[in-house]
């Protein structure tokens, strides 16, 4: 009954993508010199920055763990990131929730036992929001961690999928996100084929769930292919630089 035609009978979405296509992805690594690792990540009009500090000394001594590193995550949205300028959006419920979710994701992936009594900080800021910010942040953080050289079990890639008017769509943008359909953010370890994050706030029937889940997995794999290819390029360049130095 919705007024906007989110997917035309010709099979195109509002922005011209087909249901299984993710948006255009671009990223850069090593932006900041003070951070140990950093990444700027674009997925369509969603743009985020991630910076990784550590492993470093634990700031609150009491929180230190003797057998592993602790991970700190902070997600925030820039006041100018949305259409209407927000007042300070720091530390609201939503960003706290997302911070926790991302922390949990990475706690299971980073080989924290290698760095006992340290802490790793991951800061993520959304510069421009157009749907799928938490997935974009996970991807950016993943890249920043790689940039920082922190050992992980696998790449972490994340992508959301949803369902509008009975059609499963991957990587929803803001308009599609606000259609009110179910939204299912997923993060996987692509090489190991394991799921490390799955959120679902709305109800879906089992059949629909399977379909949306499949869509999200496909989206993750597409994103992984793009990230991996470019990362290999970047690494090659780094190696080449090294060679000239030697």
């Amino acid at each position: 009954m919705s007024k906007i035609e989110f997917i035309s009978p010709e099979g195109l979405r509002v922005d011209g993508r087909r249901p299984q296509e993710v948006r255009k992805i671009n990223y850069r690594l090593n932006l900041f010199s003070r951070a140990d690792g950093s990444a700027y990540y674009e997925q369509g009009n969603t743009r985020v920055l991630a910076a990784v500090y550590g492993p470093r000394q634990v700031t609150r001594r009491g929180a230190s763990k003797h057998d592993r590193a602790i991970i700190n995550c902070e997600y925030s949205m820039a006041t100018f990131s949305t259409g209407e300028r927000r007042k300070s959006a720091k530390r609201d419920r939503r960003s706290t929730e997302i911070s926790v979710v991302i922390r949990q994701t990475f706690e299971s992936v980073i080989l924290t036992h290698l760095y006992p009594r340290t802490q790793i900080d991951i800061f993520m800021q959304v510069l421009q929001a157009d749907g799928g910010t938490r997935c974009a942040c996970i991807n950016a953080a993943s890249l920043a961690l790689i940039d920082a050289g922190i050992p992980m079990r696998d790449f972490v890639v994340s992508c959301a999928a949803g369902m509008i008017d009975g059609v499963a769509l991957t990587d929803l943008n803001y308009i599609e996100d606000s259609a009110g359909g179910p939204d299912l953010p997923l993060a996987i370890l692509p090489k190991q084929n394991k799921i490390c994050l799955l959120q679902m706030d709305s109800k879906l029937t089992i059949e629909q769930y399977e379909e949306v889940m499949q869509m999200a997995v496909e989206g993750c794999k597409q994103i992984h292919a793009v990230l991996d290819a470019k990362l290999k390029d970047v690494t090659d360049q780094l190696v080449n630089k090294r060679k000239t130095l030697l």
């Binding site: 009978p9 010709e10 922005d15 011209g16 948006r23 209407e84 009975g166 943008n173 308009i175 879906l204």
Partner: protein
Amino acid sequence: MLKSKTFVKRTKKGNVVKVVKEHYLRDDIGTGVGTVLQAGAECYVIPDTNVILHQITVMENPVITNVIVLQTVLDEVKNQNASIYNRLRALVGMQNKHFYVFSNEHHKETYVERIASESPNDRNDRAIRVAALWYMRKLSESKPVLLLTNDRANMEKAKFEEINVKTIQQYVRNDMKQHPQLLEFLNNSDELEEDAEVNKSQRKTKGVLFQEHKSEAEIRRGLLSKTYITGKLIVNRNNINEATITPDHGDKILIKGFENINRAINGDIVAVELLPRDQWTTPSTRIAQEQSVSSSSKDDHEVGDKIPTGRVVGITKKNWRMYCGSLDESTNDPKDGLVMRVLFSPVDRSIPKIRISTRQCLSLMNKRITVSIDEWKSDSKFPDGHYMSTLGDIYNTDVESRVILLEHDIPHYTFSENILNCLPQEDWKATVPAPNRVDLRDEYVMSVDPPGCTDIDDALHCKPLPNGNYQIGVHIADVTHFVHEGSPLDDEAAKRGTTVYLVDRRIEMLPKLLTNNLCSLVSDVDRYAFSVIWEVDQDAQIIDVRFCKSVIRSRHSLTYEQAQNIIDDTNRDDLPAQALRNLLKFSKLIKNRRREAGSLSLASPQVKFDIDRESMNPTDVEMYQMRETNSLVEEYMLLANVSVAKKILHEFPTLACLRGHPRPAPEKFDQLLKTLSTVDVQLDTTSSKALNDSLNAIDHSADEYVDTLVRILVTRCMEQAIYLVSGDHEPDAYVHYGLAAPLYTHFTSPIRRYADVIVHRLLACSLGLYPLSKRLTDRELARTIVDGLNKRNRMAQYSERASVELYTNTFFANRLVECEDAYVVRVRSNGLILFVPRYGFEHNVKILEESCQYDDAGEYMVLRDTIKIKTFQRVGVKIFVNRGKNYRRRLVMQVVEPDIMFAMDTKDLTANMLMSGTDDDKRKEDVTDVTGDVTLFEKSSDAASEPKNKKKKRTK
């Protein structure tokens, strides 16, 4: 796959926000040739937006195929006219039309960006041209591409770019010469000047009749500053020169006079400017018989309070649809083969006459045809339209029935292929045991229905339990087992909403295979059912109730008469006889309890036509006969509905689909009470119980029929029962006034009502047999569905009534009834309202005021100083049909006993009847249309499930 982006600025409501959207351009969109478009087509046509908007009927013609619909065009059409958009989408969906949607806006090579100096319209025109050029390049070797536009500038630019371009008129006249019938459908209003100079010059000579409509921006500004008021225009059916709007806030506004209505048509959303206070007037009591360009001032003798009066300054949303009617009867010298401009007069009296051009004038005379409006120029007295289709001969009952269906917007086409694909195999058999189904095949289940009934949706069983109590089961056809949520079949059923019963036909909600076969609980076959099973004690008090999906095997399909005979047959004491007697005993107890709670028992004039099978003409009319067994079945249906309503409301407090019947506003009774007080009948309308008691206390020793008559009149004061979603209303609104039930819903007829289908699903959810799906929990969706159902129900009632009226007229057209009993329902200053029990209709008899004295307080009149006529008096009437203007048949009644001389002779009768129609029809609108004879069954406690039975019988 290339992806690129553009930035679009957009303002939202109130504040201006910059919205940045991505726009991906693709290279994988094909031309569609060979897939959707036929490879062997002579030429591919690309229409522009205005061609689609103005010529959709031409496009719908089967000879127009291989059309490329550009996305630009599609979007523009969508923004401008939703109904044409839907028609265009339907065309795209048709396989044999070969309409292809080319997503040019997302194609790398056809996307154009707006240039700074360019208006959005120009940009879109350019996008269309670019797409046309792209097609020409792609298809250069094979087939020509033809751009259709009626825009001069666009055409010149296209010619400059060497695109094949034509106006739609040129295309139809030259390229489609072999299909001259297309000319009929052509809308010539936007013809380019060089083609239509003659027309133009003719127009120039005429003066401007109407003020120009204000622009959209001006209207918006006016509405914001409250100088204009907006609302839906309702034209008085008896006087086309008078209309009203009822704004969301504030009082009704009267719009009087042809030029003040300013070309708005019934149902349009209009902007109205109030006239200065000294020009305010009252609604007229007289009636304009013909459409005339008369000013509002001349026909007024003003009585009563003046109400705000205004004039239309603009139309914000047009409600133009297809109209049924006939060519004006007085058309001079109709000829075929020559294009003639003739007037079309619609069946619906609130629609003005429409001027159409046709080449088959003669063959269209005496035919019912459909016409649509193209435009209404400010210098034209009538709107211009074009012919769409011929339905058939006037007065042919089949054709007139189709007119009724079309006018009430009732979907009556045959079910489409993809809907029929949802059906199970014809030889489907119930599998037993089935998961989650209780096997009730051992119970002695019987169904009781009217004779010849094929869609049996309910069956009953009753047996004594070892503990002295009784078990009573109601088994309802399990329609949702076949109609899956969200399937095309389900969507279609939701759209149809209800089965519509006309006198001569039944327009079914579901395909025949389900209604007459797989869902129908016929005897000696295993069928799936949804059962409600009660345990009741000797006093019919409910001890326990449970619900389950079940498999049943009905033992007997009885008619009401057979069931009655079994009960009455004292020699029989077998299983069915015992069960039926027990059922009857309990039903009476339950009925009495309901009566005590205040359930109304009303009456309505219901007639049944005996129809001649060959000519389809009615041969006799009779009242419908009720038996004890009718009310037996009803009682259990009511009980089942109430039990289910309680259950679903308890489980889903916000989602339950209920049937509410608001208590009538006290002022609705005022007129009736006043009339009744003149014949010493007192009614207590404070509550339904008090009303029922006072109805029962009426002394009808003098004339038996008075009792029924009063009940009929009370029925008309009732509100309409409606479906509602429980979450949207206060619990007070759930009440069913007529049944005196705090909760009520529809559960027992899923074969013919969609509301029951929803309720079945909800009940299944509450039992854990069905997932609580997205569609069920979506309240927004539920609300739209329920609103749709209410509208469909209302339309179904109107059409049923129109159908009865049609058959009544046909019946009397062939005979003259010399003397028939009638009762005076009301006495007015200038006439009598009479009710004829035998035929179950009411009519108006006009008596000129000079010949009688009318006593206002006592509501009686004295004719020629000797004959006194008062309310509820029995008179003898002569009934016949007179033909009115433009094929409107009217029933005419004359009082012959006592022999009162009429102040008019029969020659004038038609005209006079037209005049007296004011009161008659107004009453119908004011009272009947709101409450309605048919709805009565909803309200009348006796009869919630009864109308179906009755109608089924009728249609046989």
